[in-house]
Symmetry: C2
């Protein structure tokens, strides 16, 4: 047989039959998806075969690196500090980035944070930041670098130059029910994180009713693959498996979530924001240890707490808001986030009992439907709508007690109230097990 | 949640997760592939999911019927005879259609045979027929009907009007290594056969080194799915599982194969053509019984043999050649098929021993590479090149004995001889088992 050039069909067949792809085949795929040598209809067949057959550690690393190389990388080697970042797989009320980035920067790390927007029931850091009047997340790389050097952390969205193969592949995955393939998730997350030239990465892999990975076993599998790939690519990486069976903290909705973060940074947080504070401190502590700023986790925890309590993290946040064009007065007066007054509607329990289950995704979707999130990427966000949870898993309620407070406009109010109420399961006896926020630690 | 319209992504997800698709979903898919509501890149992801997860009997029948309904159907209900056809999954030297069609027609059946072209190592009936000077396989439906009424059988290629969804899907399957998915094979074969309005269908499912399904277990699985689907769609269907571990009969190559068939019809066949004759008689006998012309298989066999030996099948073939524009003098003098003289080169054994394995696909590909077949659909056929096998599985050979005779032009001769020689495994002791032509009968 005459030697043939590499053919998409043969690569698909190989993965279909469960074999490992060679580095050359994976690189041809990633390059071909971008330049058209690998047709979209061939790419999606391969994506489904990858979802079916998986990828081994080497394949996963090579896929990640090939996607990274499909675009430009940022070089912050001129910044003489450890480069560190945090990534969450997304949840409802998950706002720790807004606490961790200023906290880690104030503790001596350089945090070049490239974030995403919300989709479906989950929120996105960029949308939250944009609820700050004037705040710009669309920075040039030069501007991003300047903010980073000046403040210690900078926040922006992915640019067209970073890992363009990921953008193309994500659109194909989204259209073909192949988003869930772990090797593809890993390559998508890690290629973008690697583009920022990180030394350290901490991952928050959520599991539960409001998480992308509802089952804990799958969340752990994803976390292990992420941590393996990060370390194999030279980034010191750890992951926490955290509970997403209820919104994280009290606030769901963009401006409400920013306010909750400012209150944490100010040391004035509502008791319901406790888990956000706790998880932010823990993730920052792990960053500090991985970066070598502290040698033990306990020292990292003390360091993070000290910086938070000193007000240094708040000052770091204030400088970032100023540098990125936002109204920094929100740091002193978070009510400035609320540029118009919305209706506040109490969502009441229709019976007495204990909260045994909370459908966090349904809460996220109900707020999303009011404009707090997006069903499609092109949807507009209403930053002011949202929800403040008044009860959490295991709490006892009486009939008529507030489950939470909906912040809304006229439209869609009654449907939202009904969905929010239905998101809670209330039973006569208290749940057998209480929810632990941090369920596992994956260090490989 | 608002009820959404049917979405390709949801259908893909359902099959990805191993569930059965509803009739509406399958029909939406087949319609959508043709009209673009189901993008090609979504269709191929679903094809891979079908290859992975399979389809149950109902899904398979509905897919077949949806593909049938994507185009026009032929109506021969004005012909007052049972409509019967035979389909083979393809092999090397597999030429039984050219014997069965005239034989069945001479025995009182109406045989509207819609055939294909060769691709890869396998030949195609249309290519074989086109080696007859003047023979036209591109008939209008009106012409096809006329030949059928006049002769009792007619031969043509698939038209653009018959099962257009199959044409589109086949191209996508071919590009994405999803050709092998059994439900897709079944729907492709059966939708086209159903379009001809058959009462009876006999299937020849090949297994072995020259077959599409090399493994017997997979061939049986395919045969059962075909027979189930045929019967579920109202066509009385049976399948034989037959051996394709060596070329069927002596001749491989278009004109040589037509000559072998004429010799069988004339009762003058070479001993090496025995299996072609045997298999043609058996398949015809089963058609006669399924069609109710005979009530027992034994009576069907006697009937078929009698018609063949009487010369009536040869006369039927002659009338068809005339009706389809071919030079019918080939029926009396098959040497007229050979419009120019080719080189005849003996392929010699380099050692003494027994033929223990024959790579039939390699023989098919070697002749294909000389122009006897196609690597790509657009390749031109050279009808005169070919190969006459002189030995079969289990035969003893001496060093220098002819394994076969290659008919070729100058170009590619030595490469072809080397490939043909290498297709035979010759060992000191005779093979443990002899090859049985008919390995199993699938009637479900």
């Amino acid at each position: 047989m005459i030697d043939r050039e590499m053919q998409p069909r043969d690569i698909i067949r190989k993965k279909r039959d469960g074999a490992a792809l060679s580095p050359e085949e994976i690189e041809f795929f990633v390059r071909g998806v971008t330049n058209g040598e690998f047709a979209d209809y061939q790419a999606t067949a391969l994506l489904m075969a990858v979802l079916w057959r998986g990828m081994n550690e080497d394949e996963q690393r090579i896929l990640t690196q090939a996607m990274l190389r499909s675009g430009e990388t940022l070089d912050f080697s001129d910044v003489d500090l450890p480069k560190a970042d945090k990534h969450s797989t997304g949840g409802v009320g998950d706002k720790t980035s807004l606490v961790i980035a200023p906290l880690a920067a104030a503790a001596g790390l350089c945090v070049p944070m490239i974030s995403g927007r919300g989709l479906g029931h989950t929120g996105g850091t960029l949308d939250k930041l944009e609820s700050i009047p004037g705040y710009r997340v669309r920075l040039s790389i030069a501007e991003f670098r300047e903010v980073l050097q000046h403040v210690g952390f900078a926040m922006m969205g992915q640019t067209a130059e970073i890992a363009p193969a990921d953008k193309k592949l994500y659109a194909l995955r989204d259209a073909t029910a192949t988003v869930e393939a772990i090797p593809l998730i890993v390559a998508s997350i890690m290629s973008k994180k690697l583009a920022a030239g990180l030394d350290v990465l901490v991952l928050d892999v959520k599991t539960g009713t409001g998480a992308f990975m509802r089952e804990e076993a799958r969340a752990k599998k994803l976390a292990r693959a992420l941590v393996q790939t990060g370390n194999a690519c030279g980034v010191r990486t750890e992951a926490l498996i955290t509970d997403m069976n209820q919104p994280l903290g009290r606030a769901v909705g963009n401006a409400l979530e920013v306010r909750e973060c400012i209150e944490i940074l100010r040391g004035e947080a509502h008791e319901g924001a406790g888990p956000v504070r706790e998880l932010s401190l823990e993730l920052t502590a792990r960053m500090l240890r991985l970066a070598g700023v502290e040698t033990t986790l306990e020292a990292g925890r003390m360091h993070a707490r000290r910086v938070l309590e000193s007000g240094a993290a708040l000052e770091s946040f204030r400088r970032n808001v100023e540098a990125q064009g936002g109204d920094a007065r929100i740091c002193d007066d978070p009510s400035r986030l609320f540029t118009s007054a919305l209706r506040e509607v109490q969502v009441e329990s229709t019976r007495a009992g204990f909260i045994t289950e909370i459908d966090a995704a349904e809460i996220g979707s109900a707020i999303g439907a009011l404009g707090g999130g997006r069903a499609k990427v092109e949807d507009e966000i209403d930053p002011l709508v949202g929800y403040l949870a008044e009860v959490k898993h295991g709490d006892a309620v009486k009939e008529g007690d507030a489950l939470g407070i909906l912040h809304c406009r006229d439209e869609g109010q009654s449907a939202a109230v009904a969905r929010l109420r239905a998101a809670y399961t209330i039973e006569d006896s208290s749940p057998a097990q209480s929810r632990t926020l941090i369920k596992d630690i994956i260090t490989v």
